[in-house]
């Protein structure tokens, strides 16, 4: 634990602290307007003043990101498993799946708002749209690209389609699904915030995207920086959370050597 701290977190914190010191010194030396270059001390003070607002918005974004991430995990993996089972062919699958990938969330956001109204489904819908393709794509690769000798070995033992899916394809795909889930987790936070930046504060419970948008509209640069920092911390937190769950799942399911 201490080793991980000293190798991973401490050097990063040290680097950030150094950057903050240089930034503070520059802001003071240049006497730049806080509209252009807010000093870290001013940003921290503003963050403290608006702490409850930031935390409340952050929680709202977290909930919608987790909802969108969960939906993308379930739908993406489920669709890939159905494809592996033979419900539809790979040739049909990819053009449709890629449509999901290439529709930019900023373009789809107004449409999602029109369809979902001012409820909570907008942000998580955007998170889902961004997150589903990586999970689906990775799961599909993991389920389909199995060593032909392994498939031959199962066929040799007269394994049924279900046995091949449950005992070969799905376990083979687990590390790939986890890799896709890690990408999707980061995108889920981005999707939720990006939706609010485009669609405004339409959600019933405004998130960080709404706060960023309001800070920008009021030229409240210190709060804007504080929100950007909070968004980064939130994205990092979600990623580390998914990473921890993935480690627990893989430790129970399989050989550590296969982890991505």
């Amino acid at each position: 634990m201490m080793g991980w701290l000293s190798r991973g977190i401490l050097p990063t914190l040290l680097l950030l602290a150094c950057l903050a010191v240089v930034w503070e010194a520059l802001a003071r030396a240049l006497e730049a307007s806080s509209l252009v270059l807010a000093a870290p001390s001013a940003i921290l003070a503003e963050a403290w003043t608006h702490a409850s607002e930031i935390v409340y918005s952050g929680l709202s974004t977290l909930v919608s990101a987790l909802a969108g991430f969960t939906a993308s995990l379930v739908v993406g993996t489920g669709a890939a498993v159905l494809m592996a089972w033979g419900f539809w062919s790979r040739a049909n699958r990819f053009p449709r799946a890629i449509l999901l990938k290439v529709v930019p969330v900023v373009v789809a956001a107004p449409l999602i708002t029109i369809w979902s109204g001012a409820g909570v489904s907008g942000p998580w819908g955007a998170s889902f749209l961004l997150g589903v393709f990586p999970v689906f794509h990775c799961a599909a690769i993991g389920l389909s690209r199995v060593d032909p000798d392994l498939l031959g070995m199962f066929s040799f033992h007269n394994a049924s389609r279900w046995q091949i899916l449950a005992r070969l394809r799905v376990p083979h795909a687990v590390p790939m699904v986890v890799a896709g889930a890690k990408v999707s987790a980061g995108l889920a936070v981005v999707g939720s915030i990006a939706w609010e930046l485009v669609a405004g504060c339409a959600a019933r419970v405004p998130g960080l995207g709404c706060l960023i948008w309001q800070s920008f509209a009021r030229s409240h640069t210190e709060l804007l920086f504080a929100c950007v920092g909070a968004s980064t911390l939130l994205g990092l937190g979600v990623f580390l959370g998914v990473e921890s769950v993935a480690r627990l799942v893989l430790a129970r399911l399989e050989d550590p050597a296969r982890r991505f």
């Binding site: 031959g152 033992h157 070969l168």
Partner: protein, 259 residues
């Protein structure tokens, strides 16, 4: 061990296979393997050795000729897995299963109960010298140990013929020699026939009662060399003149396969 009473394990008459791509992989192949016999297939790379093993295993169907395994026609009985074991070219050990669970896999697919399949898997792990590694993950094993796991899994069902598709090709010389002796010991103990493909002529001569040489594509048997060096194959045999003579005989036949 449940032995078949068939006089011959493999009987291939004018067997051929043409793949959907149009490639004629085997044509007019005649070969018999008797019960308890050890026959090796050697030939140029891509000549159809693995394809013939897959035909015998029932993983492919011949498009020409007639093939019976253990006295049964694979067309009538489905895959002749009751009498066959198969060791693939790659070790095909599942990395997400422990060693004992890998060996127990064929029984699990057949629906054998947990206690019974585990007990039988442990018996076979003891026979291949891996008792202490039953709960290990395959990634912690050497390549030679993974091949032993594959052999145990192929033999756990008590086959009368073991099909081996160049199984030792990925190992170093010392490991390879150890695995060859292990295979001969198990065969001596349990009496199963072996149909073995390899790129190594000395390996084929050391292990086999008979070496069959395949031609280039489409593969057919160019000739056979009987290896009448006795049932006991001591490692010192490799240094003897009779061994070298048999190797030369196979190499000469092989030279005809590569014009």
């Amino acid at each position: 061990m449940d032995q078949h009473n068939a006089t011959g394990q493999v009987d291939a008459r004018e067997v051929g296979i043409r793949f959907p791509s149009g490639t004629l992989a085997l044509h007019g192949l005649n070969m018999q393997v008797a019960s308890g016999e050890f026959v090796s297939l050697v030939g140029p790379s891509g000549c159809g050795k693995s394809t013939f093993l897959r035909l015998v295993a029932g993983l492919l169907e011949p498009t020409e000729g007639r093939l019976t395994v253990g006295g049964m026609d694979p067309d009538e009985t489905g895959r002749p897995t009751l009498g066959c074991g198969f060791v693939f070219k790659s070790s095909t050990v599942l990395p997400w299963r422990t060693v004992v669970d890998n060996v127990a896999l064929p029984m699990e697919l057949e629906g054998v109960g947990v206690a019974e399949r585990r007990a039988r898997a442990m018996e076979w792990l003891e026979r291949v010298g891996l008792t202490g590694f039953a709960e290990a993950w395959p990634a912690s094993l050497s390549e030679g140990m993974r091949i032993r796991v594959s052999m145990a899994r192929a033999l756990v069902g008590g086959p009368t013929i073991l099909l081996m598709d160049d199984p030792f090709s990925a190992t170093d010389d010392i490991t390879r020699a150890g695995l060859q002796e292990e295979l001969l010991r198990l065969r001596g103990e349990f009496g199963f026939a072996v149909l073995f493909s390899t790129q190594s002529v000395p390996e084929a001569v050391f292990l086999s009662d008979r070496v069959a040489v395949l031609s280039e594509l489409p593969g057919r048997i160019l000739g056979e060399v009987a290896v009448d060096l006795g049932k006991r194959r001591d490692p010192d045999l490799r240094g003897e003149a009779t061994f070298a003579s048999k190797v030369r005989e196979v190499v000469h036949l092989l030279a005809r396969a590569q014009p």
